[in-house]
Symmetry: C2
Subunit: 201 residues, 2 copies
Amino acid sequence: MGSKERILRLKDETRTKILDAALNIVQTEGWQALSMRKIADQIEYTAPIIYEYFSNKDGILLELTRRGYLMLAKDIREARDQHESPEDKMEAMWIAYWNFAFTHKEFYQLMYGVDMVCCTVKNSMAEAENVGSMLGDVIESLFEKKPVSDDDICMKYYTYWSIIHGLISINLVRPNGRTTDELNQQILKDAIKGITLSINS
Amino acid sequence: MGSKERILRLKDETRTKILDAALNIVQTEGWQALSMRKIADQIEYTAPIIYEYFSNKDGILLELTRRGYLMLAKDIREARDQHESPEDKMEAMWIAYWNFAFTHKEFYQLMYGVDMVCCTVKNSMAEAENVGSMLGDVIESLFEKKPVSDDDICMKYYTYWSIIHGLISINLVRPNGRTTDELNQQILKDAIKGITLSINS
DNA sequence: TACATTTGCCTAACGGTGTTAGATTATTTA
DNA sequence: TAAATAATCTAACACCGTTAGGCAAATGTA
């Protein structure tokens, strides 16, 4: 009875097709245009079929969020592993974060609620903790004094995160601002260096 | 023919009632729950009536955005005028900005696209420029070297804005994070002081 | 092979949304 | 009082997320 597996594989394929279709619609028409019927059209089914693969629309968004965090974690991990000193790691990781936000704009919007409909319970997700712990680890290694308290790490983490998330949000929501890419990069790097320097001052 | 004016006044009143109703719904049920029919219910009319006061739903959001910027500008102006030195002004203004975001959470969400449906063309609005120019002026006065280039101001402006907007966004989207108010304030003030110090370093 | 059961997929519908057209009622003007 | 204008409503359109029920094909069983 190998047909069982083949059928399961087919089911998994259409599940993936649903996610791909959703992503495709979002990338071409934006989050507002995403509808169950459009997804169904694209995979050549009718809308109710989707509910056999996801409990509802939020289920689809949740899965896409999960995948987004996995991609982001991969990018940040690779950036980390290409440098030696904590300072270089830190800068590379945040730049990877920054790049992710713009090369996967839709994911970032979904993951961080920038100009997006809230898909409710997206806080306290395991995949998000992963990114956080990696960044937290390197932040800890930036401190010269030991031991480093959780509050110290948390504070610096939020400081980094805030300025970068802020910059990204501003640029995502207002792409017509008069900030060039060069200027943004300059602000970003200066801010990172500044925070990094401030850690042991 | 004083009735003309009375009628105009009545029209203006219902226009305000529409905005108040919209705000009331948003404050109690969130942006997702805002609908034309609910607004109409609250002002004891039917939905099509609203289209004689606003071209569409986005028109309502746009007007609320405008009013939000006016309120924010007022808060920031008052904070500025209660201090003497540029450093104190800067901190007070950004703290006013911060406070506005949380005491008028719905406005901030609308104005800065945090966890919100996009109401499209909300960039390049006159009222937004107002806030920007005020902050820019004080930033310019922080520089010891003269003259200060527009790029210098723009960069520092974005640096300030980013970290604060980022912090706010994080806290708005993830209110269940383990950051206390004290910690947020600490991060905020430290970041402001840091950026301010970095201007003449 | 014949029947019963499960599966896959669809149509139709419910209640909601923003928005528009047309009819109806009330008010003002001549 | 009659005509004209303004104010407001009802009904409808096309969309949305979601659910219920039915049809037809595939599968399991005798």
